[in-house]
Symmetry: C2
Amino acid sequence: MQETPDQTPRPPTGPEIADWVRQRIRTGRFVPGQRLVEVDIIRQTGASRSKVREALKRLEGEGLVEIEEFRGASVRSSTLDEVRQIYRARMALEGMAMHDFTANASPAIIERLQALQTQLDACVEDRAPDRFGRLNNEWHRLIVDGSGNKVIADHLQRLNVPIHRLLFESFYDDARLNIANADHRAMLALIVAGDAEGAERAMRKHIGDGFETLVRIESEFYN
Amino acid sequence: MQETPDQTPRPPTGPEIADWVRQRIRTGRFVPGQRLVEVDIIRQTGASRSKVREALKRLEGEGLVEIEEFRGASVRSSTLDEVRQIYRARMALEGMAMHDFTANASPAIIERLQALQTQLDACVEDRAPDRFGRLNNEWHRLIVDGSGNKVIADHLQRLNVPIHRLLFESFYDDARLNIANADHRAMLALIVAGDAEGAERAMRKHIGDGFETLVRIESEFYN
DNA sequence: ATTGACGAAATTGTCAACAATATCGTCAGC
DNA sequence: GCTGACGATATTGTTGACAATTTCGTCAAT
């Protein structure tokens, strides 16, 4: 089967191409350093060159690709130190989002969070790290969206770590998965109790621990 | 005298056009809602249409302008609630920057900060709110740059409030100017003492107070 | 005076051809 | 065998022309 570049007859728009490339970078099909040749993307998506160029410019603005004059676009590779900086930024912003979520969230949204927590618990029972990873993303997105701060949500969107391999491997470590889920349960309790500052501290530690795990996996990978 | 659109014979690049427009928006020469017609910018800057379009797309990504299909770019106007969200994000990120600055900054940088503080004190003595505003920006930039986190610095770059009028009026209130300077002095003390968490709390409160002042000025302006 | 139709002008979106540069393969010289 | 020059190819950057759409002015009908 081919790449199913484009089911609709209509040619894809600029943002759609950007999504297409972004997805490929996130899932590791485009690896850091790899050159993104315009003609290849045109062939695979059916888009015009203008649109492809527009999409690549946009992705450059997001920091996902790098464009050198007359050499074109390539997937940007980030150092471990930059990943650390990204995690610091996420600690700050997602911590603040958790603070405001705890202070403002409606009972309906908290109920959705509890439902999600039940599913996460089931994943831990079933040793389903893959599904846990997906639900984990959903959990974090629910907090950020529920905080009611779209500015913070936008900025967090751009703070996803480009290295996909690591993120999904994180939860293959059973201990890490258990700790992460315990974090979630503790945070939910703090939210219900209305302890905004406590919830913020917990979120920051949770993300900080996530980075520690990532560093550990990374160092094991290279040894 | 004219606008001195471009002293160099070389035609301006994309990012240069973006800077040019950004400056005009920040200084209030382009007001919210105003349409940014490509031909006008071309005439005033001497750039080609491609570059102007590229610049406008970039500014759209930064959230400064809005582009509607077949209607072109216009200066985006932000609601008070969005400004509030921006300030929440700045509290989070600049607080974190202050934390890391306190933990990591070299004695040389701290010395530069102390020199800047002396100048700020002089501004308070002389009742020079304009100069205080500029030095204040420099002070905050020094903290952020000194934190060593370029990711946070980049994101803060995009979190400047577009409404310039308010920012410079803030310090025309003598009481506000005194409080802000006292905040700076207190934070400097916490930095020297190595109290990272205290400095972070102080920074967050400082920025939060800045927003309160802004809201007060805004409401007075419309009454 | 107001409204609506309608065409001209203005403005933006798109595409294709051309120019500028980089990349690659070939081959002579050592 | 290795290196560097050099031409062919591939890739990106830029410009200009044309298409699509909106905006504006005019004018007739009520």
